[in-house]
């Protein structure tokens, strides 16, 4: 049984060398690079356009050249996007959304990782009765479209007085994050030698003590993977924040969409692109800093039997 996470300790730079025979002949190699560079241009184009548009005055944008480097570089659109871009009549920029997103992401990430680790630990080592069946149901839940659950959850949270509150949206993210987080930790712990657990049992360790003192300290690599996944996913969420967070706690993605798609009057493309970049800054920073760890999160579900 080899879990993807078995590789989590591998040095992140190991690029394997191929046998020399696989080098392609020269014309083929030119074609190869042509393809890769064209693809790279396609993937980079939107980022370039975003950046260029966000530092261009509106008069230059109206000239109609998407790719042109600005004649007068200005940071005014960024300031405006942060401080004073309008949603309807409110002109407070996107900073409120930024802090709302921070307030949602931090507790949601901590809660979902803690629960995922606990579930994975209990399932892997203690094997409670019907644990596997329960886990299977949880996993199946990951495939159920949100829309099926949204309205009953709205009613349930209303009854609990949590609808439209910060604890409410945190709870929702924790619920929806549980399948993948549990899978992640369950598979990670499955690769831990059972003898280790047995030894701790013989030494008199109980459920919580083994979890906190033995397993959690060993879980750093997978916690990092989980952290990357949850911060990115929850920051990028739109529909859950839209429905559950309430007017006071709308996350940055929702405010971004409101700023751009509900404006009346002239559309300020420079401000729009600055706001879009601002909203993408956190996940992009996570991505560029985490490097290959990010890929491990993607492959989280991918476990060979």
């Amino acid at each position: 049984m080899s879990a993807v996470f078995g590789h989590a300790n591998e040095p992140p730079t190991a690029a394997r060398t191929r046998p020399a025979g696989r080098r392609l002949p020269r014309p083929a190699r030119i074609g190869l690079y042509a393809f890769l560079l064209t693809a790279a241009a396609f993937f980079l184009l939107p980022l370039y356009v975003m950046v260029v548009t966000s530092v261009k005055p509106m008069e230059e944008i109206r000239a109609g050249n998407l790719f042109a480097w600005p004649v007068h570089v200005t940071l005014a659109p960024w300031v405006q996007a942060w401080l004073s871009a309008c949603t309807g009549l409110q002109c407070e920029g996107i900073r409120g959304g930024f802090w709302n997103s921070v307030a949602i992401v931090v507790p949601s990430t901590v809660a979902s990782i803690a629960l995922g680790a606990l579930n994975g630990y209990a399932l892997s080592f203690w094997r409670p009765r019907h644990g596997e069946a329960l886990f299977l149901c949880l996993l199946a839940g990951a495939f159920i479209p949100y829309q099926v659950m949204i309205f009953p959850l709205v009613r349930a949270l209303s009854m609990l007085g949590l609808f439209g509150t910060l604890p409410g949206i945190v709870l929702i993210h924790t619920l929806f994050g549980m399948p993948v987080m549990t899978l992640l930790f369950r598979n990670y712990y499955a690769a831990v030698p059972r003898e280790l657990f047995m030894a701790a049992r013989i030494d008199g360790g109980g459920f919580w003590r083994i979890f906190v003192q033995l397993m959690l300290p060993m879980s750093l690599p997978i916690v990092v993977v989980a952290l990357i996944m949850q911060v990115t996913n929850i920051w990028n969420d739109f529909v859950l924040g839209l429905v559950f967070a309430g007017r006071e706690n709308l996350p940055m993605t929702v405010q971004l969409n409101n700023i751009i798609n509900t404006t009346t009057g002239e559309r300020l493309y420079d401000v729009n692109m600055a706001a879009t970049l601002l909203t993408s800054l956190v996940p992009l920073a996570v991505y560029f800093v985490s490097g290959r760890w990010f890929v491990r999160g993607i492959a989280a579900g991918a476990v060979k039997g």
């Binding site: 998407l66 949100y146 309205f151 959850l153 971004l256 996940p283």
Partner: protein, 299 residues
């Protein structure tokens, strides 16, 4: 490593799994049952407890917006899945040819995946807008006849959305495939080389079959994206022009919160649920009998 049969049951372990059990029972199973039940009632603004049989379903399939949403989802799904898998696979194979700057290329191909679908939709909305975007730019550069106005065309808007989504997600396939390629035994390449098999045949006949699990994983992750597609449509086209890029998820949210049509929305949700379950059931069945090869998510 065969785990010992003896189980360590413990009150604490059972207690610790209570949140998970509660999630499955209330948040998943309970809400699903509720939605299915409401789909058989006459609920409009508030849930009603009567029983009207399949009337909401009849209404649903007489609603043009719903049937169009289904068509759009099918078109979007096919284009998105095929394009992501093909582009991702090709990028992975090409990157695997010991190219220079491999790390940089990988970073470039995957970064869109870190961005939200909202941001993705907004960027592409801006680039594809015919007045100031790509079309205007290329015309300004002398390509007078250049036309790229999908986003404002009834028959093409859904493909504009698909283009944006493919840009966002194909890096995912590349990353998964590349991991799969790197996992293939080196000696296979040696053997193929010694036997004088051309590289493309080695890929088609030897490598591709071994990438099955990576392929399955990519497919499952992309398929989940297709079913849930909402954000990118809202950000990019708001379902327009007209109904040209409406999707089921948007139909449901709009009817739940904008149009106070809870019964109708629940019927639509139930249709989606049934469709997903139809695909999920074989997988769950397979999981009950292990050792049937390794598919995605098989743990």
């Amino acid at each position: 490593m065969t785990p010992p049969k003896r189980r360590y049951r413990n009150a604490a372990a059972t207690l610790a799994l209570l949140p998970m059990a509660a999630t499955v029972v209330f948040a998943y199973a309970g809400t699903m049952a509720w939605t299915v039940r409401v789909s058989f009632s006459s609920s409009r603004t508030l849930p009603a407890s009567d029983f009207v049989g399949l009337r909401q379903y009849e209404r649903l399939f007489e609603t043009e917006r719903w049937t169009l949403s289904l068509q759009n989802l099918a078109l979007f799904g096919i284009v998105f899945l095929v394009a992501c898998l093909v582009i991702g696979f090709l990028l992975a194979i090409f990157i695997d040819q010991r190219v220079r700057g491999e790390g940089l290329l990988r970073t470039v191909f995957l970064y869109p995946y870190a961005m939200s679908f909202v941001a993705t939709g907004l960027v592409w909305q801006w680039m594809l807008n015919p007045g100031l975007g790509l079309q205007a730019t290329l015309r300004g550069l002398g390509l007078e006849g250049f036309t790229f106005d999908w986003i404002v065309r009834q028959d093409m808007a859904i493909f504009a959305v698909a283009l944006a989504a493919v840009w966002q997600s194909s890096g995912l396939v590349m990353a998964l495939m590349l991991a799969g390629l790197r996992g293939i035994d080196e000696s296979l390449w040696m053997a193929a080389r010694i036997d004088g098999i051309p590289a493309w045949r080695t890929y088609a006949s030897i490598v591709a079959p071994q990438l099955g699990p990576s392929f399955a994983t990519a497919f499952v992750l992309l398929a989940v994206t297709v079913v849930k597609v909402y954000d990118v449509v809202v950000a990019m086209t708001l379902g327009g022009p007209g109904l040209a890029s409406e999707v089921p998820a948007k139909f449901i949210i709009d009817n739940l919160f904008g149009r106070a049509n809870i019964g109708l929305a629940s019927a639509a949700s139930t249709v989606m649920l049934a469709t997903v379950l139809a695909f999920l059931a074989p997988w769950l069945h397979a999981r009950r009998r292990p050792a049937h090869g390794g598919g995605a998510f098989a743990a």
